[in-house]
């Protein structure tokens, strides 16, 4: 039947040889198990916290403490919805890094080191990071 479409040649297949071919694993990020997702997000959030989040927050702290006008200026700046959405990202980066770090501290002392609990705690970290972001976001909105 495939011979009717000459533009898309069917791959040359021998029915009994295909089962003996080496398996190639799908290395898509989407197939990372929860501990892997927590791990890469821990790294990404750590990098983001180092730069640019940290210098930005230090600058804002300095400006808000320097004078009454500075304080008011930054308060009105933070009341903008767009800024608050960016702050949600900042809060998530800190919260995820925080909870993932606590999980690593527990793993270091061999708490929940087996595969099943490690998977569960990884999912808990992902959920807690988002919940903390929602909670703090609700407080600042």
């Amino acid at each position: 039947m495939d011979t009717e479409k000459p533009t898309s040649p069917a791959p040359h297949r021998r029915p009994h040889a295909s089962s003996r071919r080496p398996v190639s694993y799908d290395l898509n990020l989407a197939h990372l198990p929860p501990p892997g997702i927590v791990s890469i997000l821990h790294r990404v959030s750590g990098l983001a916290l180092f730069f640019p989040i940290l210098p930005a927050l230090i600058y804002l702290l300095g400006a808000s403490l320097a004078s009454e006008e500075g304080y008011r200026e930054w308060r009105s700046f933070f009341s903008e919805p767009a800024v608050k959405f960016v702050m949600l990202g900042v809060i998530w980066a800190y919260a995820h890094h925080f909870f993932a770090g606590l999980r690593y501290l527990l793993l270091d002392v061999h708490v929940g080191i087996a595969k099943a609990p490690a998977r569960k705690s990884a999912m808990a970290v992902l959920v807690l990071g988002l919940l903390a972001t929602l909670l703090i976001g609700w407080c600042i909105w």
């Binding site: 750590g46 702290l61 320097a66």
Partner: protein
């Protein structure tokens, strides 16, 4: 007689110290984060005067600088790990690592200057 070269290419164990220091500094920052969050929730600084008063107490100033000192070591180990994993050319990696060290020292000096300049 040729003396056998006994120095091993690995096993300086400086990695263990860094690893431990990263955990210790993490614990310091966890404690500060929880304490500071409780402090904010209790005092709810809503005006400039309250905001300024919060950061003028010696305890808050000292613990904030302690937090940033812990952060300096913690972020150094983390950033060094990232750079070692992804930046292979030695010259570029060492340049970036130096930049990280300078940036972290500047952060620390900056925060101390903010807290004590007034």
């Amino acid at each position: 007689m040729v003396k056998a070269y006994t120095k091993t290419p690995v096993g300086a164990h400086y990695g263990l110290g860094d690893w431990l220091l990263q955990r210790l500094t993490a614990v310091v920052m966890v404690l500060f984060t929880v304490g500071f969050a409780i402090c904010l929730a209790v005092h709810k600084p809503g005006t400039y005067a309250e905001w300024k008063a919060l950061f003028s107490g010696t305890f808050v100033r000292v613990t904030t600088v302690l937090f940033f000192t812990a952060l300096l070591y913690h972020a150094w180990v983390g950033m060094r790990d990232i750079l070692m994993d992804y930046v292979k050319p030695t010259a570029i990696r060492l340049t970036l690592q130096s930049a990280v060290v300078v940036a972290l020292l500047l952060y620390l000096i900056w925060i101390a200057q903010i807290l004590w300049s007034r």
